[in-house]
Every structure is written in structure tokens, then in C-alpha cells.
């Protein structure tokens, strides 16, 4: 346990995002902003076919062009892989946009001209752009091992759902689907590679430079000691950005040409060859007694992973966690299956399956409440999982860390303020006057809806931190994680500063270069604040001891009794003291290094929340306007309120794209993505940004550093079901298929009449 009584001067204040000044000045350097002398520019030739074998590639006419230096094809690259199902380049292409060849030329115009001269002979194969076709067509194998990942679904269960449904007075079931949802970060993927004959330096937007280094080393068969990965400022991750061939192709071109090579994807390529949120199809069934007690939950989800698996197994598991754990229930079962199709690849995108899973679960929950003739909020207050966790027996051995995504019962949460979230949100939105909201006549129909969520996060992988007192009397916090644009480096700095007892301005955080930072897990799954924060707190604690020990020697004291750290240096009760700069000069480099395995053997560490929305539906146009939105989150203690508020407001607005607008339109006759641009793939803008009230529950987690839990992805889980439930309240129409475009709202309204 971390000492919660540490004096806090920065934690809990809105300390300025550390890199924001460079960003507003326009001097923050992103990967595409970097250039090297003698640099070549690369372009990728992509498949026009959704599924085909490449028989031959003639690169000679292109190679003869004066400005062209090299062309990579499946026939001249090594056999390395960047993922089990993704070779460097493959003689088989699996979606329209799949990488076929890569060219390095003196500039992009030359590269584009030359790329048109590359002649490819394809053997075109039957293809599938949807799950049903992939499952039905026996002669269609997108990967050698078949179209169902691992041959079948993952199955997670507690108790016995058949028995649970047997105890139910009512059983309600329904089906829901969610779209191919693209993060479309404004910064397209890019990579700058420089090979000097012995050593590779790679600049790339990265969620994990150390993980990227390992992937590069394995794929290229280069000793990892000869690879440096540098992560410049990142034009946002949202859980995406790695996993593609971009950096490998740049690296190989640099190794083969002996010149630096920059590869920037354009917007269309980012849509096609980036990673999208998995589209899903979910069948959900819940049983309740007449008094409202939930007796069983059974969910089956099938996910479309597109051409490659990427983060699919993690995503499909998380899609089930709401069903398994949000409602107190002894009998639950989740079956999650992943299927390959010949479409752009799905991967990890903010909240990883939880939005899809909660859309089905929280929509159905309102349907059950209606069946029971019970207020939906009351139904949730009655059945939400409490601080004690789920009923049942703990199965994890006592001396082992509890999974943050458990199935077993009998384990309490470290903190669970879901009930507080429900009550605070209901109060802020005016839920008690809900019956007066609907307008049964006229073109504008008003409604009020809500939903709740649970999310894993917090404990991540082994986290390291190093901290030192430097010659100038300032401190360096050395970490291997990456700030992906969400501000993790700022909150970790705040925690280290308060632990040590100095101002955050006195600490410089060093990250982003594999040569001089410790190993760290990827910035993924909302684990940074909790896990890297815990490592930073321990490193600062250890450094405080080292500094005080050195100070007692420097002052000439017999022991460290009565010595304490001030923002300037170390003082004793009797008034003696030594400034940090003097101490650094006398004692040499003072440093600490820690490695922590975040997590708890006694508790589940999860975050919670409840969202509420008041909307107006124009039944003549199908347009939905949000008039008031309230989001209440239990993320433990909030380290930086202003940044946290921005994270929540931004997450909700981002998911208004998922809810109302965004889908990758794939033509089923050709496999072509029809809307791979911001013009045709509409995303939320400042025009429709709604007023969002953010409330943080009064919560201090006993396990998390400074009482903090995870926040990053959690705002993205509840928006869609909240709006779905408000839409039903406003119009009497339940929409089970996202996104709720004006067209789909109008169609549903017509069906009702």
C-alpha cells in the first residue's frame, strides 16, 4: 500500500500539461515533422483486390527511373513477421489496401510516378466482407488456419446460466450490432528510419517504444542492442497507432539503401491500413425475478477483426466484462468469437470492446426495467455490483494478484463508488422529473436516458522508474512509457513531485528513447496513471531516503533523525540544512530505481461511472440533439482535475461519432472502403459539441497511487447506450444498430407508425 497521507501540493491541482506550451507554439515535433539529410521518401503500393495471391511483380520499369532507389516486394524481403499472422510483406493480400510493395525515392512525386509503373499479376480469390460469408464459405480461407480465430469462441462463466434462467420470472433477449469505428487520429501513421550500417534508429509515433523495439528486432532479425526507438510527440493514439507494417517497411528500405527513409501514410491509407474498432454482433439474454433480482446473464458476441488479428483476443474478452460483472448475479456466461474478413483490420481502440458490450447490456437493461414496470435507474440501483464484488467463491490462489477483469465471485473491489455515481448523476440531470420530459406531440420529442459501466484498468504490466538528483540541484524522472497525447507524463510527474516533496517544475521527465529509459509496458488499457504512477511514487520514495541519508552525512549528523525534504533541499529540526545543488555536488549522483508489479492480491481494481443525457429528436429529420449530458466517474482520486475533465468531455464527444455518425462503408461487391476520407467519413465537430457536465465521485482508492484509478478510456463506454435509452424514452423506438444516423432514426420511426 502506498502511504495516502503524503503531503500533496500538486496532486489534485490542475498543473499545466507539460508539453502544451510547445504545442501552442507550433514547435512540438511529431514524427512527420522530422527530416534527416540525404533522406528518401517512401510510398506503399496497396492491393486493389480484397483477396488475392500475388503471382509476380515486375519492378524493373519503376527501378529504372532516376529518382527511385529501392522497391520492396514479398519476393525480396525476409521471412520475419511483425505479428503471428502478419509477415513483413506477403504473397497473399487480404483486403483492399493491404501492403503489396514499398518504394523509396528522392521525393514523393517520383515515388508516386514510379509506383504506377510496378506491374503485378494477381490470382484473384473469392472474398468475404462480412462475418456470415466468412463462416459460410467453406472454400474461402483468409488465413491457413481458417476464418474463426482459434477455431471457436472464448467462454467465460460463473455459476450456471441454465439454472439462473430457470429461476427467472421474465427472460428478455435481443440482438445488437455496432459499426466499424475508426479512431482516425489526426496524425496519420509515420516512420523515419535511419540505418548507419550497424545501427537502426527509428522515430515513430509509439504507444510503447520498448515493445516496438522488440518487434523491429524480431521482424528484421537485427540484434535489439543495435536498435534505438524514439517516440516523438504523438498526434494521439486512442489505443491505436502501432501494429502496422509502416515502421518495418521504412526500416528495411533504410537498411537496403543506406539512407534515411521517411514513410508517411496519407489520410486514405490511415483509414484503410490503420486499425479500427471491431464491429460486433451480440445476442444478449437476461433473466429476472418479479421483484427485479437478476438471475442470469448470457451474452454471445461475434467480432469482425478484418484481415488480421491484431489486438482481437484482448478486445473480445473486454467486450464481455460488462455482462460478467456489472450486475450482481451468480449465473453469467459470455462467449466471444473473432472472425476474419477481407476488410481493413480491427485492433485496439479506446475502451477495447467495452463500448460494444455495454451498448447491448445497457440497452437490454432498460428493456428489462420496462418489462418489470420499474424505473431504469431504480433497476440499476437495485442490481449494480457493490463494493463486495460478485457472489461466489474466490478461485485465484490467495497469494496471487487478482485479475482486474475477473469472472470469479468472492473478491471485493478496492473501491466501488458506482452507487454514488448513479445518485449524483440522477440529481444533476433531474431524473426525478423524468416523467415530465417527453413531448408526445409536435416535431421535437424530448427524452432522458442513462446507463452505467464497469471497466478494468489500473494495474498493467511490470512498471519501472528511475529517479535522480542531478548536479544542478534538479531531479530527473526516467520512465519508459509514452504519453500518447492524453497527458500521462504530467500526472506521473505530479505524483513523483508530491512524493518527494518538491515542486513538479524541479523535475524533468525523461521518456521516449529506448537507449536511456527503463523497460515499460505499452500505454494501453488505461493503466498508466495507476501503474507508472505507482512506480514513480516508489522511485520518489526511495530517492527521498537516499537524499536524506546523503544529507545527514553532508551536514555531519550521526543519523537521519529529524531530517526532512523541502522544495529547496534537506532541513533538520534544529535548523541545519543543505540545498539540493550543494548536496548533489558533495555526494555525487544520488539515484533510485524501482520495478513494481502493480495490482492487488486482495482486491479487484476497477473504475466505474454513470452517464445521463437529455435529448431532442426531430422526428421530421431524424436528427438528434443533446441538450444536456452528465457524466459521473469513479476513477479514484483525480490527480489533475482540468485534464481529467478534458479527457471525459473529449471521450464522450469522440463517442458521439460512434453513436451517431461513423462507420466504414465497405462495398460488398468489391471490398472497397467507400468513405476513407474526412469528407465522407463524418466525425463530430465543434458545431455539435454538447454541453457536458463532468462530476467525479468522491473516491480514494486504497491501492492506487495517491488513491487514483484508471480514467483514460472509461468516458467512451456509456455514451451509446445512454443515447439509445434516451431515444427510446423520447420516441418509443428502440434502436439496436449503431450508428443512429438521421436516416436510421427516421426508418425506425416509420416502422413504429
Amino acid at each position: 500500500m502506498v502511504d495516502q497521507n503524503i503531503h500533496s501540493s500538486s496532486v489534485g491541482t490542475s498543473f499545466q500539461r507539460t508539453d502544451l506550451k510547445d504545442k501552442v507554439l507550433g514547435i512540438a515535433k511529431y514524427t512527420a515533422d522530422l527530416s534527416l539529410p540525404n533522406m528518401l521518401h517512401a510510398r506503399v503500393l496497396r492491393s486493389p483486390h480484397p483477396h488475392a495471391n500475388i503471382l509476380s511483380i515486375d519492378v524493373q520499369p519503376a527501378l529504372k527511373m532516376a529518382g527511385v532507389h529501392d522497391i520492396l516486394t514479398p519476393f525480396n524481403v525476409g521471412v520475419g513477421k511483425i505479428a503471428p499472422d502478419v509477415p513483413i510483406l506477403d504473397t497473399k493480400v487480404r483486403f483492399v489496401g493491404d501492403e503489396v510493395a514499398a518504394i523509396a525515392a528522392v521525393n514523393l512525386y517520383e515515388a508516386d510516378t514510379a509506383i504506377d509503373l510496378i506491374k503485378i499479376s494477381y490470382d484473384v480469390l473469392p472474398f468475404s466482407t462480412n462475418i456470415d460469408t466468412s463462416l459460410e464459405m467453406g472454400n474461402l480461407k483468409i488465413h491457413a488456419h481458417g476464418n474463426i480465430v482459434n477455431g471457436g469462441p472464448i467462454v467465460e462463466a460463473r455459476g450456471n446460466v441454465e439454472e439462473g434462467f430457470g429461476q427467472a420470472d421474465y427472460i428478455v433477449e435481443d440482438s445488437f450490432t455496432t459499426p466499424d469505428h475508426h479512431p482516425a487520429s489526426l496524425e496519420p501513421r509515420a516512420a523515419l528510419a535511419s540505418w548507419d550500417g550497424a545501427r537502426l534508429t527509428m522515430w515513430k509515433p509509439s504507444r510503447g517504444i520498448h515493445a516496438d523495439k522488440a518487434i523491429l528486432a524480431a521482424a528484421l532479425d537485427v540484434n535489439p542492442n543495435n536498435i534505438t526507438v524514439i517516440g516523438p510527440v504523438m498526434g494521439a493514439g486512442y489505443g491505436s497507432k502501432d501494429e502496422t507494417r509502416t515502421s518495418i517497411l521504412a526500416a528495411l528500405l533504410s537498411i537496403r539503401t543506406g539512407r534515411p527513409v521517411k514513410l508517411e501514410l496519407n489520410r486514405e491509407e490511415e483509414f484503410l491500413a490503420g486499425r479500427r474498432r471491431h464491429s460486433t454482433s451480440t445476442k444478449i439474454k437476461m433473466g429476472v425475478k418479479k421483484d427485479g433480482t437478476v438471475t442470469a446473464v448470457h451474452v454471445k458476441t461475434v467480432m469482425d477483426t478484418g484481415a488480421y488479428l491484431s489486438s482481437g483476443p484482448g478486445v473480445v474478452r473486454r467486450a464481455g466484462q460488462g455482462a460478467l460483472y456489472l450486475y450482481r448475479c451468480p449465473n453469467v456466461k459470455y462467449e466471444g468469437q473473432i472472425v476474419y474478413t477481407n476488410t481493413p483490420t480491427a485492433g485496439s481502440y479506446r475502451a477495447l470492446g467495452a463500448p460494444q458490450g455495454h451498448f447491448a447490456l445497457e440497452s437490454l437493461s432498460d428493456q428489462i426495467a420496462e418489462k418489470l414496470n420499474m424505473d431504469p435507474l431504480k433497476f440499476r440501483l437495485m442490481n449494480h455490483v457493490g463494493p463486495e464484488g460478485q457472489p461466489g467463491e474466490r478461485t485465484t490462489p490467495k497469494n496471487q494478484i487478482i485479475d482486474t477483469q475477473p469472472v470469479e465471485g468472492g473478491v471485493p473491489f478496492s473501491s466501488n463508488e458506482l452507487r454514488q455515481c448513479l445518485i449524483l448523476g440522477a440529481d444533476a440531470i433531474g431524473w426525478d422529473k423524468r416523467d415530465q420530459i417527453p413531448t408526445p406531440t409536435g416535431p421535437i420529442r424530448r427524452g432522458l436516458g442513462m446507463s452505467m459501466f464497469i471497466y478494468r484498468g489500473g494495474p498493467g504490466g511490470q512498471s519501472n522508474a528511475e529517479m535522480s538528483l542531478d548536479k544542478d540541484g534538479c531531479f530527473t524522472l526516467n520512465v519508459g512509457f509514452m504519453d500518447v497525447g492524453e497527458g500521462s507524463s504530467t500526472v506521473v510527474l505530479q505524483m513523483a513531485a508530491d512524493t518527494l516533496g518538491v515542486l513538479p517544475q524541479m523535475i524533468s521527465l525523461n521518456s521516449g528513447n529506448t537507449d536511456n529509459t527503463p523497460q515499460s509496458p505499452m500505454t494501453a488499457g488505461s493503466t498508466l496513471t495507476f501503474s507508472a504512477g505507482q512506480a514513480a511514487v516508489r522511485a520518489a520514495n526511495q530517492l527521498a531516503s537516499v537524499v536524506i541519508e546523503a544529507a545527514s552525512e553532508a551536514i555531519g549528523l550521526a543519523d537521519t533523525e529529524g531530517l526532512y525534504i523541502t522544495p529547496d533541499g534537506v532541513c533538520s529540526m534544529s535548523g541545519d540544512g543543505v540545498k539540493f545543488a550543494d548536496l548533489a555536488n558533495k555526494s555525487g549522483l544520488l539515484k533510485a530505481a524501482v520495478s513494481v508489479t502493480p495490482g492487488s492480491k486482495d482486491y479487484i481494481v476497477n473504475s466505474f461511472g454513470a452517464h445521463f443525457a437529455e435529448i431532442e429528436v426531430d422526428i421530421e429529420t431524424g436528427y438528434v440533439k443533446i441538450t444536456k449530458y452528465v457524466a459521473v466517474h469513479d476513477s479514484g482520486r483525480i490527480i489533475n482535475p482540468k485534464m481529467a475533465k478534458g479527457q471525459v468531455r473529449g471521450g464522450i464527444s469522440q463517442m458521439m461519432g460512434f453513436t451517431f455518425l461513423e462507420d466504414m462503408e465497405i462495398d460488398h461487391s468489391s471490398g472497397v472502403t467507400l468513405n476513407a476520407s474526412f469528407l465522407e467519413h463524418k466525425s463530430p465537430t465543434i458545431m455539435e459539441y454538447p454541453e457536458i457536465e463532468v462530476i467525479f465521485a468522491d473516491s480514494i482508492d486504497p491501492v492506487g497511487p495517491f488513491g487514483a484509478k484508471s480514467l483514460g478510456e472509461t468516458p467512451c463506454i456509456a455514451p451509446a447506450p445512454t443515447i439509445a435509452n434516451a431515444l427510446y424514452h423520447a420516441t418509443g423506438v428502440r434502436l439496436n444498430h449503431l450508428p443512429f444516423t438521421p436516416d436510421s432514426v427516421l426508418t425506425a420511426l416509420k416502422r413504429l407508425r
Binding site: 507550433g26 515533422d33 458545431m687 454541453e691
Partner: protein, 160 residues
Amino acid sequence: MENHATKITFKVNGEQHTLDIDNRFTLLDILRDRLNLTGAKKGCDLGECGACTVILDGKAVNSCQILGVKITSSEIKTIEGLSQGDMLHPLQISFIENDGGQCGYCTPGFIMGAYPLFESKTNVSVEEIRLALAGNLCRCNAYGAIIDSVVGAIGIKVDG
């Protein structure tokens, strides 16, 4: 390359430049690749995201949609020209104070998009801000803080 080149003279952030440029270069390419002014970003290169917004002769434009050969005799202001040494522009200060950027990739575009509003107004309504920035995408969706930032720099118009 010579046969594709044109000599152009223009001003960026008050400084005069005369360059032989590739006719295919856009203003964004010239800023980024020839002048190393990388504050304007290439988010789409199609005029659909606003990340490349700069001021061209007083107007906010998508610099990726302006051919380089068309900017002769023009005056261009970029994000790099907004601050005077250590003195940040009020918009920049307000974007910092209101946490108006997260990943920051869209931030220079938003600030330059709001710049004409700052120059022409002593106070501004939220609706005017929304309209001025309707062509700028922020995928972090920091729109709430961006509105706060522009209001903070210009001042809010009070009804009546």
C-alpha cells in the same frame, strides 16, 4: 526538376522569401519542406481537417489547398509567427490556461483558425466561435476546452 519550377516571392511571418519551387508544391509543402515551419500539420492534405490552417493575406485558409505558385506577393502568418520571442499571443496563453489541446496535432490549426476572430472582435459569442472553427477537426474532441480557450482570449459577448 527545373522544368517544374517557378520562382516566387512571398512573406512569411514578416520575413521575405524568394524560392524556386516545384510547381506541384502546395503552400503547406513550402512551409513544411522548404522553410521548416512544421507547426502547420498535414492531417489530410485534402482541405478536410483544418490542421494546416494558416493566415493568407488576413484570411484563415487550409494551406494544403493553396498551390505554391499562387502565393507570390502574399503575406502569410503561421503559428510560429504568432509569439514575439518569449511573449506568447493571448490565444496561445489562453489555450494553455484552458488546456485547449490534448495531443496537440490540431492545436496550431485551431489557434490560427481563431486568429481572424481575435483580430476583428472585442468579444465573441460561442456560436461565432463554432462557425469560425467548423472546418477544424480535433479527434481528441477537446472542443469544450477549445471554446473556453477562444472565449478566454477574446472575451464573451453578453446578450443584450
